[in-house]
Amino acid sequence: MTEGNRTRIAVVGLVVLALFGALLARLWFLTVAGHETYVAQAQQNGVRVAFTQPQRGIIWDRDGKPLVRNTTTFRATVSRGITAEQRHQVLVRLSDVIGVPKSDLERRMNSADNSPLLAAPVWDEVPETAVTYIAEHAEEFPGVEVAPFSTRVYPYGSAAAHVLGYVGSMNDKEYETHGAGDEPDYQLGDDIGKDGVESFYDAELRGSHGVESLRVDAAGRVLDTLGSQPAVPGNNLELTIDLDLQRFAEQTLADGLALQRLQPVLDRKTDEPLGHNFLAPAGAVVVMDVDTGAILATASNPTYQPEAFIGGIPADVYQQLNDKATYFPLLNRVTQGLYAPGSTFKAVTAFAISDAGVLAYPWEEILDDKGFRKFGLEGQQTTYRNFESIPGGQVQLARALQISNDVYFYDMAWRIVQLPKDLNDTVVLDDMAIQQTARRLGFDEPTGIDLAGERGGRVPDREWLEQVNKKDPVAFPYNIWLGGYTITLSVGQGDLLATPLQLATAYAAIGNGGFKVTPHVVHRIVSPQNTVVREIAPVPVDVGLDPEIRDIVMKGLSDAVMTDDGTGFKAFEGFDLGRLPIAGKTGTAETCTACEPQNTAVFTALVPANDPKYVVTVFIEKGDTGGSTAAPIAREIIEFLYCTGGAAAIRQPDPLGLDQQVTIGCPPLVAVPAAAPPGSDIPAFEEIEPGSTNAGVIPVDGTGALVPGLPPPASNAPGTGVTTPDSTASPRRRRSRGRRPSRDAQTRRADEPCAAGCGP
């Protein structure tokens, strides 16, 4: 060893000392100077905030039958942070443990509405044994989490599907509209109502997320809970819908469409068969309380199973539900279907002509109708004809409605067109009277029903024409409102479009004496603690219908059903109109003039005619006439409505074991010896036993007296004699020209025990 060596050792020592000094300085810098920052980071580090999903509210019908419930299943998710190889292995093991093919898991995992920011759900119904196994062998399932998860259950399948709507994962757009995460109850991966009341009342139904502050380790394992706030379940909805009537209406509509598809299309002039049947692809039914706007039933066909949306709907299935070829099953035709209402609109025109002053008191002006009339200046006249050019004879307003006379309304419309104009040819008196009255009755704007996506229809007028001409001169080449437009409008044709619900609302106003109701399907919002949060009771608006005209219109509508030359009479043959008088209007809207006679068949009824309580509206696409296609469906629904209303329905225990009774059938409302006032209880029906062979008629003894124990027949009851089941069925067969199978209570029960709707 030399001194040189020692010097160098000393140098090395100094270097080491300097290094250690640097370490100490850095340690000071981190632990003392940066302490607060790092402590804050450390505190956040192991804490994760997790949201717990609340239970979505239940939806009941008006009697408390659950249309939508929840069930809790276990959902397995796989973290997106693991490698492709790990994911493959995990899926293989999961498929083994859960017992489903790996491809199914992959399909669920790749479902389009999974949030890319969250762990991907791979299976929604993990059996409990698998849940336990996965929990016990966590190391074999890296990134897998199994958590309880609440899904919707539809005990009655597709019943009221369009009213309920469906639930799905929130998409990006919905996430944005709900504050992109700022609203605590709208987090990525949450479900959201997509249609119907699920969407309209989503804020009520969804409840509030629970928040859990969890301490987790580096691997994300939860060590303990620092604090939590439980989830608040959503409010429940009590609908105005009557499940029994709803299911019956759906089934009747489906049957009616099926039946119409069996009918051959006849040539307009020759009545020769054209060699094919009616398409009748779709239809809509709405039954509404005319005083409150409460919807009792609303059917739209074709329909769908809301269940299909649980756990993400496969793209191809969704495509099918939204396809022209399947006639858009997702579309709720009651609120979204736009149709020309046809002659049913004449009731609206009736009020318009009095409003415009073209028909004067005492309103009894008689026109002589030869079946057609020419309008316009000499030399450029256009001929407007009745339906099938049948002459109407001596016609005044009520008669015109009764026989659905077109020329009467053409004439009245022409008077509106000819209202005096000033020198510049601008109108002094408003020649848009029909449009104004239509708008007052609720056309041209959504009715405000509490269902998502309602459409407002269209009432064409001068402004509208100018607008569309400006926008699209090719499709709408004229921008001058011609008198002919008003003439076609007066009978509900032309560019007029309305939803079935709008028509029902207008008729409700006519029925209740001039109050426009706001249709609604939700009766009450009920908290999970069973207190009423809110009652949905929109106040009807007085639209000011002339009471005298209203009486004439009601007479016309009543005669249309109850007199044998009324357009709706045939469908109600055999119906005990004396006990339950019915007013109604048929409509047969020609969707194109030149093509074959497949029309929008419309019937809307006000029952009972003397003091309307309900409006029943039926629309059938591409059917025959309103009287032959739509009215029979309305009749069956009215029969059912009044038998359930009278608690006389044939009931049996709920096949779903929900401890409820369901109506499976109902005796037809046919001429019976004794009848109670319509709308009230019909005690005569109470003793009908479901199994008795003469179900459907009032049991009477041989003398024609009622079975003892029942109240005596009302003295003012119309109708005579005893009706046997045979005589019940035969007139209805006649009504449908022998093509319609007998649908009396007996055959219904024998052949279709689930006529009230076991679902398709």
Partner: protein, 414 residues
């Protein structure tokens, strides 16, 4: 300070009658600091290994004392080996450098064959029962001994040729380590060899060239894609903290971030043993091995960390002193090598946890979990204690004549 203590002891010995020089008996000159500090650190290490591994092991459903027990075994084995190394005269190690070198190369080489075990892509272990033997740890000490012997033989006259020989001697095991790959140990070896040559007497000119060569080859290796991505990421993370570029960089940045949070969260006094969210939530990766210092800093704060660094400083000072008082160049170089090894590992490891050094897999001596490191560290200290205690002893058991420079010296030069 310690120097004063030494002088005082020397003065006490002076009045002894019949004794002209210091005792020849090595037992009299055992350095208590060198003998006590490593076991103290190691016991502390066992405690910290337990606190940093128990929550992770518990959550894995394994015995939470798994690492604790094994590290305790390593501690006992290490202390025994240290005592053994103290007893046998270090000069026996001087005589068979070739054999020693052969063993080092063989140990390092065979680990690359199927005899060695692979873990996380690194082939650096022999599986012996349930234990792993890491030859690179032993190679550190082996290379120190070999180079010290070589330099001693040439009495520190390192001309360019001999420097070249040492360069080859050192480069071969470093290259094998690079193949494993064990970047950390090869860096430790490089620094160690450099300091050793510096003390041995290489000319500043040569050393400058070597340093230049080393630094430039380091950059070539990093830049020329000779390293795996994760290695580059770890090396460069401390340069651009906060802006990770890819997944590897992210992982390295995460390591560093969690490590700094753990240390910073400790504050002056620490959160107390067994507390510490970073430690208990297993947020710091590799905490019971390479990042053990974070457990110390989080739980015992600046004070705990400073005390630990202080212990290493005192230890290094005693190693430095042993180098200064060693009886021969061989002994002095060993002491310098061991000091360089310990000091650089501490600096590199602790510096890495605090973000002032790149992330490399270098253990903190006696603290980090790992048998080979603990045992080799103890053995190294044993040899240094041996050297220091025999600074007055005449050569024994050596076949060679003592060189002229091997004059016993009683105290550091004044």
């Amino acid at each position: 300070m310690s120097g004063v203590a030494v002088q005082r002891r020397h003065r006490i010995q002076l009045p002894q009658p019949k004794k002209i020089g210091p005792s020849q008996n090595p037992a009299v000159h055992l350095d208590p600091f060198l003998l006590l500090i490593p076991p103290v650190i190691a016991i502390f290490g066992v405690i910290m290994v337990y606190s940093s591994s128990k929550s992770r092991l518990t959550s894995q459903g394994v015995d939470p004392q798994f690492y604790l027990k094994r590290q305790a075994i390593f501690l006992v084995v290490g202390v025994i080996l240290m005592v053994v190394m103290t007893l046998v005269d270090y000069r026996v190690l001087r005589d068979r450098p070739a054999l020693l070198y052969g063993i080092v190369l063989l140990g390092l080489g065979l680990v690359l064959t199927p005899l060695g075990a692979q873990k996380r892509g690194i082939q650096a272990w022999y599986e012996i029962g349930s234990f792993q033997l890491q030859p690179s740890e032993f190679a550190k000490l082996g290379l120190v001994l070999v180079l010290a012997a070589y330099c001693h033989e040439h009495k520190g006259h390192l001309d360019a040729w001999r420097l070249g020989v040492t360069f080859v001697l050192a480069a071969t095991p470093i290259f094998i380590l690079y193949l494993q790959p064990d970047l950390g140990t090869s860096i430790v070896l490089t620094v160690m060899v450099f300091l050793l040559l510096l003390v041995a007497g290489a000319s500043p000119k040569h050393l400058f060239v070597i340093a230049l060569l080393g630094i430039s080859s380091f950059f070539v290796i990093v830049k020329a894609d000779l390293l795996a991505d994760y290695q580059v990421a770890r090396l460069t993370t401390f340069v651009d903290q906060g802006q990770p570029k890819d997944a590897q960089a992210k992982a390295a940045a995460y390591n560093l971030e969690q490590s700094k949070i753990a240390i910073g969260a400790g504050g002056i006094d620490g959160v107390g043993y067994g507390n510490g969210s970073q430690t208990n939530l297993s947020l710091v990766p590799e905490q019971h091995t390479d990042f053990i210092f974070t457990a110390v800093a989080e739980q015992f704060g600046f004070r705990g960390g400073a005390v630990l660094l202080g212990l290493y400083t005192v230890l290094c000072f005693r190693l430095w002193r042993a180098a200064r008082v060693a009886a021969d160049l061989f002994g002095a170089l060993i002491c310098v090598g061991v000091m360089a090894m310990i000091a650089f590992q501490v600096f590199q490891n602790v510096g890495m946890t605090m973000g002032i050094m790149p992330i490399t897999g270098i253990p903190l001596p006696w603290m980090s979990y790992g048998g080979s490191s603990v045992i080799v560290s103890f053995a190294s200290i044993g040899i240094v204690v041996n050297i220091a205690s025999r600074r007055f002893a005449q050569a024994g058991g050596t076949t060679r004549a003592p060189g002229p420079s091997r004059q016993p010296r009683g105290s550091p030069a004044r």
